[in-house]
């Protein structure tokens, strides 16, 4: 096996090291600028550092909280696992499919004083379901299933 430090190899390796450094710097910069904290409503309310930060909050849309303008939802509230609610303002941006009461959403935006979030994007999150004998508690499906009539016993 020839000398590892033959000048050709050394030059190629040096080039790759420089490139890697450049890419890493770019990556860290970009990460810093687009980082947002992925939290729950209760964390948003309780941690002061997050009150005006860029955040990503997951929660369920509260039935009856949706405010509409020309049929398009512009404000609503979401609730976490501990009955903790956060108000969301969403005047611009694309309303995702399946948005509505009980939808599990992930809101990305900037906090305002720890009580509400100005959202620039809202996406729907897939339900945490594994088996669906019955839909998960509190989900869209659990609220809108057709009421079962007398059903056949399991065989």
């Amino acid at each position: 096996m020839s000398d590892l430090l033959s000048s050709r190899r050394a030059r190629l390796i040096a080039l790759l090291v420089v490139a890697t450094t450049a890419i890493s710097v770019l990556a860290f910069q970009a990460a810093g600028e687009s980082a947002s904290y992925y939290i729950t409503p209760i964390e948003f309310q309780s941690k002061a550092a997050l009150h005006d930060a860029r955040v990503r909050i997951a929660g369920r849309v509260v039935d009856g909280s949706i405010v509409e303008d020309a049929g398009r939802p512009i404000a609503f509230r979401i609730v976490g696992d501990h009955n903790d609610e956060v108000a969301i303002q969403f005047p611009k941006g694309v309303v995702p499919n399946l948005f509505g009461p009980y939808a599990l959403v992930v809101v990305e935006g900037r906090g305002r004083g720890g009580t509400s979030v100005d959202a620039y994007s809202v996406i729907i999150k897939h339900e945490n379901e594994f088996y669906a004998d019955r839909p998960p508690e509190g989900s869209i499906s659990s609220h809108f299933l057709p009421t079962p009539g007398p059903s056949a016993p399991a065989r």
């Binding site: 770019l26 904290y37 992925y38 509409e68 020309a70 729907i124 088996y131 059903s151 399991a154 065989r155």
Partner: protein, 668 residues
């Protein structure tokens, strides 16, 4: 007792036993030098494929006959679903997609056992044993953790039906292609592992791996392209790639496979990069398993993920085992992985291909890092930090531009270097085209540096491809008098790998131009208007005629509300678009957008409705996306190139001179 469920579950258990026995038989047969055991192992693999097919058949039958006693059937299907959507139900949900994955894998591996294993007698036992173990791993999850045939405690009268978002023709082809693509990384993996186990680490395994890797590349690429198309036409957010964790998982295995297709050339020609090629095929499969783990574990929240189950932990273990075993095998065989030659010059094709691998690995690490960022940050700082599309666009964008630059200049670099004068001669024209394009684009108003580099490089790729085809056709015409079109079409037949590759590169360049156009120059307009009113967007006038209702009555759709829009430009009618919203009986307050798209070669007019009130006042969004049609055209060229690259180079039968046999002897 539900007969269908029992049949299906038994088939799966038997398949599990068969896969495990295949691994045992191959191992014992090799150790004790008993070829008949090896034959039994091969047949066991084929049996696994037959048995999983039976299981899929059972599930399909249950779906078609509305057997809601089976929990999975009740969760993804309902009485009023159309038959073709039930095909989509087959692979929906956790157990369904896992069954589809395992079925496709068993079919592929059975095909591999029939086609390739007979040609690699030096690694046949190792390949069968590895294949058997891989299948055992996945069948284990199916049988013990996520059985599609589990019965519900109470049989519901009707099923829930498919998630409304999935009720679309795109759902009929995108997931199968993508799942098949991810699964297909298993064959190069088995070959690489077999090579490591058997110790035969020269070019032999590469020769056989190439075809399977190409197939994997093609199917995975098509799966991702279909995903982008579906996201664009169905999901209604105006884009085709969102850097969602599951999207990222789908593209990750494609990167090492593509790199492998390139660096295997270096091993074939020069005997270099042996370790690297093994690393690539092992990494591709490991990433595919990571992908399936990611989707099923809820590790990173995604619009796709099934989330939170024991299956997630199981696949984490499976992935860890895969990685640990791969690393151990390579470490064990390092003494046998010497390069046969050295890098002779920096400005050579070898260097170009090494840089190709470097860039693809860099992109893969960036995507992986960005996807796992929340997990890593939670480990270190106890709070989850995510990075979104801006991160990926900012870092991966320049890397992709560099890849394009490499494509444009790298294919003219000679093997083993060559003199500086040769380099100048070969690189002069492409470099000239590059600089000229960049200046021209800059003058026309393109200032963003990444866009400039990418677009100029794409233009050079187009130029180089055209030149190669012309030069090749001219040579063919000189050899035999045929017309230009026949010569051009005949080129891939002469050298499929080369010309197929050129077309794939051309496809990539076209896609790059489409991506730059649609991302950098997109225009968005929002308007809230009442019937009779109109608004302007990107030079077009949109007039709201009325809001109409439509009741398809199938697939759980209750009603569709459509906004009828007349589109005009400079007073001339362009189209009548009907964007709207679809409401489902089971989910009356969760509508799904119906996107209306008007496409031509220059731009897409992408129109959707965000809502309307009782007075029919509606909020309408219009995206003007330039050059999107070229994305699909580029995808088509790419796919054609990939298909052509499979071809065996045209062999002309030599004309035999007739030599009369001596009288009284047998004819030859």
């Amino acid at each position: 007792m539900d007969v269908t469920a029992t049949l299906g579950a038994s088939a799966l258990v038997t398949a599990l036993a068969a896969a495990f026995l295949a691994a045992v038989a191959a191992t014992v047969g090799h150790a004790r030098r008993q070829p008949r055991l090896l034959g039994a192992g091969r047949r066991a693999i084929e049996a696994t494929a037959v048995l999983t097919t039976m299981a899929v058949g059972a599930l399909a039958y249950a779906l078609v006959t509305n057997d809601f006693a089976i929990a999975h059937v009740a969760s993804v299907s309902s009485r009023n679903m159309q038959l073709e959507m039930k095909w989509a139900s087959l692979y929906s949900g956790q157990p369904g997609s896992l069954l589809f994955w395992t079925w496709t894998m068993s079919l592929l591996i059975a095909a591999f056992t029939r086609i390739t294993v007979p040609r690699i007698p030096w690694a046949a036992p190792h390949a069968i044993a590895t294949a058997g173990l891989v299948l055992t791993g996945f069948l284990g999850a199916l049988v013990f953790l996520a059985s599609p045939f589990r019965l519900s405690a109470v049989t519901p009268p009707d099923g829930q039906g498919l998630n409304p978002l999935l009720v679309d023709p795109g759902m009929l082809i995108h997931p199968p292609f993508l799942l098949a693509g991810l699964v297909s990384t298993s064959v190069p993996f088995v070959l690489g592992t077999a090579a490591l186990l058997s110790g035969r680490l020269d070019g032999a395994w590469i020769r056989h791996a190439r075809g399977w890797a190409l197939a994997s590349f093609l199917v995975l690429s098509i799966g991702n392209l279909l995903g982008a198309w579906w996201a664009y036409t169905v999901l209604g957010w105006g884009g085709y790639w969102g850097w969602d964790p599951v999207e990222n998982s789908a593209i990750l295995p494609l990167l090492p496979i593509t790199a492998f297709l390139h660096t295997l050339m270096v091993q074939e020609r020069r005997g270099m990069l042996k370790t690297w090629n093994l690393v690539l095929v092992l990494a591709a499969f490991a990433l595919a398993v990571f992908g399936t783990f990611n989707v099923r574990s809820g590790l990173v929240a995604s619009v796709h993920s099934f989330a939170q189950s024991e299956v997630g932990a199981y696949f984490l273990v499976l992935m860890t085992v895969t990685i640990v075993v791969s690393v151990a095998l390579i470490a064990w065989r390092v003494p046998r992985l010497h390069a046969e030659a050295d890098l002779e010059a920096l400005a050579s094709r070898e260097t170009g291909l090494i840089l190709n691998s470097y860039l693809f690995v860099a992109i893969a690490l960036v995507i992986l890092g960005g996807t796992l960022f929340p997990v890593i940050s939670e480990l270190f700082r106890d709070i989850r930090v995510t990075v979104g599309p801006p991160f990926f666009n900012r870092v991966v964008g320049p890397l992709l531009a560099l890849v394009l630059l490499l494509i444009s200049l790298g294919t003219v670099l000679p093997w083993r270097g060559g003199s500086s004068r040769q380099h100048v001669r070969r690189l002069r024209a492409p470099a000239l085209v590059l600089v000229t394009s960049a200046i021209a684009l800059g003058t026309l108003g393109m200032r963003e540096p990444v866009a400039l580099v990418a677009t100029s490089a794409a233009i050079v790729v187009g130029y180089v491809t055209l030149r190669e085809f012309l030069v090749g056709a001219r040579g063919l015409r000189a050899a035999r008098s045929i017309s230009w079109p026949v010569a051009v079409v005949g080129l891939p037949g002469r050298d499929p790998r080369r010309y197929g590759g050129y077309l794939v590169h051309l496809g990539v360049a076209i896609i790059a131009i489409a991506v730059v156009g649609s991302m950098v120059y997109q225009e968005q307009t929002r308007a809230a208007i009442a019937p009779g009113e109109s608004f302007e967007a990107s030079g077009y006038t949109f007039r709201y005629e009325d809001l109409v209702a439509r009741q398809p009555g199938v697939n759980g759709i209750e009603v569709e509300g459509l906004v009828v829009l007349h589109v005009e430009r400079d007073g001339r009618p362009v189209a009548t678009l009907r964007p709207g919203r679809r409401f489902f009986s089971n989910f009356p307050e969760q509508p799904v957008a119906i996107v209306a798209v008007h496409s031509n070669l220059q731009r897409d007019l992408y129109v959707f409705v965000q809502g309307w009130n009782a007075q029919r006042r509606a909020e309408i969004q219009v995206f003007m996306n330039p050059l999107v049609t070229w994305l699909w055209i580029g995808g088509g060229v790419y796919t054609l190139g990939g298909l052509l690259a499979f071809g065996v180079a045209g062999r002309r039968e030599p004309v035999r001179a007739e030599i009369p046999a001596p009288a009284g002897t047998e004819p030859a």
